[in-house]
Amino acid sequence: MALITFTKRGIYCKQGDFYVDPWWPVDYAVTTHGHADHVRFGNKHYLCHTLTSPIIKRRISPDLDVQTLGYGESLVRNGVNISFFPAGHIIGSAQVRLEYKGEICVISGDYKIEDDGISTPFEPVRCHSFVSESTFGLPIYKWQKQQAVFDGIKSWINNNIEYQKTSILIAYSLGKAQRLIKNLAGDVPIYVHSSIANLNEVIIEAGVPLPETTRITQEITKDQLQKGIVIVPPAMRDSKWMKSLNHPVTGICSGWMQVRSHRRWQSADAGFALSDHADFTGLMEAIKATEAEKVYVTHGFTSAFSRYLNENGISSDVVTTHFGQEDDEENKADLAETVEKKTEAKTEVVK
């Protein structure tokens, strides 16, 4: 009997009687990371990484029943050994390793290989079966070193400041925002939207130091913002407030920005290919390192990527999941935070 099955509610481990990142409410949900397409409202119990706990409590509800593990730590549930390994995707993101009677399965959630300077770097885990995303599972997606991307962002910002323009970077509150803050911190002050500031507080309180940023309030002048870096979630993109700034110019940081037509679809002034997901080469490396006999591909360019694996001697299947709505779901989460109407967002997820 396989260690995991794919059910209507999500990835299910029958032997241990729990789900990993379920999309319908269940009794016991093991959570890979805090993005809204992987963790949802309504489960009785949650098991997640120590750093993910305050994040989901902040985003979903302070009353969640959450149990936590650090990287490398484990617990046993109904005879199944559950342990967490860093996924390098965002702060607190974990690959979930399951072991039962010598059989090992790893559910990786979302992951990236490159050390982003803020998430604990990805570690490959050997296993028999591996569940992988393929958000960028086409060979056209090959990331530059993040240093090069950040150099590009910085020179864009400096140029904007020189030409009296206000640099606004669009980033999800959870993950991308902190990565930008960490890597852009320097002489230019960083101003963040309150949804990001709120999460930053949670993260700092959990023990992850972040460079200094300023919460955007009424007191901050447009002049100050023009000479700084403004980071806001996509939910704020077309707000009146943003348009009222001094010559606002927007930059989007996302892996999709690798392709010109995707850049054009966005009405941004600049696109930077900076992703929290592995690129094609990264996916292949990670998968080979697991030495898995079977690879399940959950979201992204699933059919192409799975076919490529099979043709390269790695047995693989496509699994249909509700993951990969990160853009939409994260946006909802940010929106909820922006309007401070959390209950509404919650009911939407449940129904």
Partner: protein
């Protein structure tokens, strides 16, 4: 090449015309003269010599990237551009190159007549010394066009700003015949190869759509009614024995329409006329789709000349005997115009007929004939009006007939931009073709905010597949699509394309089994030919 790559990036990054123009101005201030010549050439559709087939590029790229062909195809369909797909698939370059754009172009030219092995060597070495964005450009030099969202008008404006010369003069200079392999930048800009005084056009006078009942315009006798022709607005300039045809958008299109070249011998000097470029046979206007076969073609085949003959329906007179006539009243301009055009006695250059009516009701009845005549409706021009520069309310109105409509089902949705970037607002629609659905149009939302939200939540719940920002959705929502015309199209699977499609309304009362069929549209197409 790096500087050019930077320019392309700047042009692509900005949505704002001013930013694009200033990026171009910076470029023309900084770049090498020989490079500038090529940038102008490329941006105006002149292609360098291309000694290598794009299919070869593709196979070499597949080879180096070490991927199966199907994965290349899969990647290509995500990227949508061959040059870019190849640029992205290749492994990172191991060397750097400082060659100029023009040097790359010359090196490519030198490959002519060489064997495939030599060509392959050259390409592989080039790829291995160029950054991804430079490779993209390099590939474009060998195959494809530079469509980078810069109109020739913006290019002209940038050159005008940089050089301090008039923009129409530059238009004439760069639209004319010149060879980028030999022309110098300053000769080109200064129009050494042309006489720009002769070509000087006037800005077009444009009309607003009539937003009231025509009765409110007062006495019909004060108005001249004409058919509104559905072609390409054009201006014909004849001075000092030279003939120029400008299209709206300040483009010189003289070469595209040889049927009108006889005017150089029969139009008096010092005459500028405004009118519509149309497909015309036996003095009657053919459909826009017929005209379309002739647009943006550099080389016209004999067959095309026969199947889509070009004519010009004349609306107005702007210059006569070398004198600017735009301030004279329309009635006076028309009288002289009738005299000039009458003398031509041509079958394809005709006065655009005045629709004579005694009452607004009678005109409204006449207007119903528009479709039969391949016209879009009626133009109303005040008899005492001047020929204004640009759009001005009050003197000229277009009174269009109602559009065609089709019921179609939504099959793809894509996120919008600007205010609606978080909503699915760009939809692709299909009609039925037997058991299948075939795409017929893409339209931006004409829906209310409430409806957009509703469609959005439908898309979120019913997305079948996801390609980047595009979702395939269950074919369920039916919309009534309005459009202005229909044309044959080899590029579209349906074999036809709709002109100016837009969403008229959401047909919640209909389900997907009730939509129109491809056959319905084919019949409509036949009836307009």
């Amino acid at each position: 090449m790096k500087r050019f790559a930077q320019l392309i990036q700047q042009l692509e990054l900005s949505n704002k015309t001013n930013d694009k123009i200033s990026a171009l101005v910076d470029y023309f201030n900084e770049a090498d003269d020989k490079d500038k010549i090529w940038v102008i050439a490329l941006f105006t559709g002149k292609k360098p010599k291309r000694p290598i087939k794009s299919s070869l590029l593709k196979y070499w790229a597949i080879d180096i990237a070490d991927i199966p062909e199907w994965l290349f195809t899969e990647s290509y369909s995500n990227v949508g551009d061959l040059s870019e797909t190849i640029a992205l698939l290749l492994p990172p370059a191991e060397h750097q190159s400082d060659l100029h754009l023009y040097e790359w172009i010359e090196n490519l030219q030198n490959l002519e007549g060489k064997d495939d092995e030599t060509k392959k060597d050259f390409i592989l070495t080039a790829w291995n010394s160029l950054e991804t964005n430079e490779r993209f450009i390099f590939n474009k030099l060998i195959s494809g066009n530079f469509r980078i969202g810069i109109s020739s008008k913006n290019l002209v404006n940038a050159l005008a700003k940089q050089s301090g010369l008039e923009s129409v003069q530059i238009t004439h200079s760069i639209m004319g015949k010149w060879d980028p392999y030999v022309m110098t930048f300053s000769d080109l800009i200064n129009g050494e190869h042309v006489n720009t005084d002769n070509s000087w056009p006037y800005p077009f006078c444009l009309a607003y759509a009539l937003d009231t009942e025509p009765e409110n315009l007062g006495e019909i006798s004060n108005w001249q009614a004409e058919w509104k022709w559905d072609g390409i607005r054009g201006q014909i300039v004849k001075r000092n024995g030279e003939l120029f045809i400008w299209s709206r958008g300040e483009e010189l299109v003289t070469e595209q329409f040889p049927e009108l070249h006889f005017l150089v011998d029969v139009l008096p000097d010092g005459v500028v006329i405004d009118g519509e470029i149309l497909a015309v046979k036996d003095k009657a206007v053919l459909s826009f789709s017929t005209l379309q076969q002739r647009l943006n073609r550099k080389n016209i085949t004999k067959k095309e000349l026969e199947s889509a003959p070009i004519g010009f329906f004349v609306y107005d007179l702007l210059e006569f005997e070398g004198i600017d006539f735009r301030e004279h009243p329309l009635s006076e301009r028309r009288k002289i115009l009738e005299n000039i055009i009458g003398k031509l006695d041509a079958d394809n250059v005709l006065l655009s007929e005045v629709v004579e009516c005694d009452s607004w009701e009678q005109l409204a009845t006449e207007r119903q004939k528009s479709r039969e005549l391949n016209s879009e409706g009626i133009m109303l021009k005040k008899r005492d009006s001047h020929y204004h520069a640009g759009r001005k309310r009050g003197d000229w109105w277009k009174w269009k007939v109602n559009p065609y409509t089709v019921d179609a089902v939504m099959i793809y949705a894509q996120k919008g931009s600007g205010r609606r970037a978080n909503f699915f607002t760009d939809y692709t629609f299909a009609v039925r073709d037997g058991e299948n659905l075939v795409t017929i149009a893409k339209a931006y939302s004409g829906l209310t905010d409430k409806e957009i939200k509703e469609v959005n939540s439908f898309v979120n719940k019913n997305a079948i597949e996801k390609f980047g920002p595009v979702r395939t959705v269950k074919p369920e929502l039916v919309f009534e699509i309005a459009f202005e015309g229909i044309a044959e199209s080899k590029r579209h699977k349906a074999g036809l394309a709709l002109r100016f499609p837009r969403i008229l309304r959401w047909r919640k009362d209909k389900n997907a089994s009730e939509i129109n069929t491809l056959q319905d549209l084919q019949q409509l197409l036949q009836s307009t030919l």
